[in-house]
């Protein structure tokens, strides 16, 4: 096996990205549930299904991106462990930075939705008192 180090690299990279995505989305959407219930003002059914839909979207986006950057080009790969570690560190580091940006983007979406739903409540509460 001449190029077995690339396969070793793939076998390390794939479980790492799947586990990273799994844990990040687990923490994000376990807490996102509370946000969603607050956004939809206690209508639990619709809040939970929105949360689930966002979770599926998060998984699809991140696993799709992770799989599509998997390729290690073989034409200037020197078959040494040093090179393998360097290539893997670039890929895994880049992927986790991307995952962090996505996490904050999703959190920002939650916070924005919360603010919007709060402002509509305030309008509804204040509306009648102003006209009286």
């Amino acid at each position: 096996m001449e190029t077995s180090k690339i396969i070793i690299g793939y076998l390390i990279y794939l479980p790492v990205i799947i586990l990273l995505t799994f844990f990040v989305s687990k923490t994000l959407f376990k807490n996102g549930r509370i946000f969603m219930i607050e956004i939809f003002k206690g209508r639990e059914e619709i809040a939970l299904s929105t949360n689930k839909l966002f979770e599926v979207g998060f998984y699809l986006l991140n696993l799709g991106f992770g799989l599509s950057i998997l390729r290690i080009p073989s034409y200037h790969f020197n078959e040494t462990y040093q090179e393998l570690i360097e290539v893997l560190s670039t890929k895994i580091g880049g992927f986790s930075i991307y995952l962090g940006v996505m996490l904050f983007l999703n959190l920002f979406l939650f916070l924005r939705g919360r603010k919007k739903s709060k402002s509509t409540i305030i309008q509804r509460v204040q509306g009648p008192t102003v006209t009286q």
């Binding site: 190029t3 690339i6 396969i7 793939y10 794939l14 059914e45 619709i46 299904s49 929105t50 689930k52 839909l53 966002f54 599926v56 979207g57 699809l60 986006l61 696993l63 799709g64 991106f65 992770g66 799989l67 599509s68 950057i69 998997l70 390729r71 290690i72 073989s74």
Partner: protein, 117 residues
Amino acid sequence: MNYNILSYLIYGCIMVYIIYKVGLICYRNGNVFVLHLMPTNTQLCLYINNILLTGYYLLNIGYAVYSISTWKTIQNTYSMIDTIASHVGSIVLTLAVLHYMNIIVLQLFFKSKKQHI
């Protein structure tokens, strides 16, 4: 058996599994939304949702199978892994973009319904 046929088999299994799973989850959770949009007519909601699910399956599995024609010849094991991964990745990314667009469209529907009331 050469590498191409083997990788087509693996790719087909992965794609059908992912598309089936995602479709099922969206079908179950989408039911709540369609029911919320038209609370009076349960039968029509189920009907619409079933049609949406069938359309989704046809479109995605069709596209996934159709894109097999663009594959190159595969020489060895590691290029088999990376070709499968990049094709699965690109289709899953497309699926994600479609999914987020769907969520945005649902949001717009909700807004227009609130304004009517």
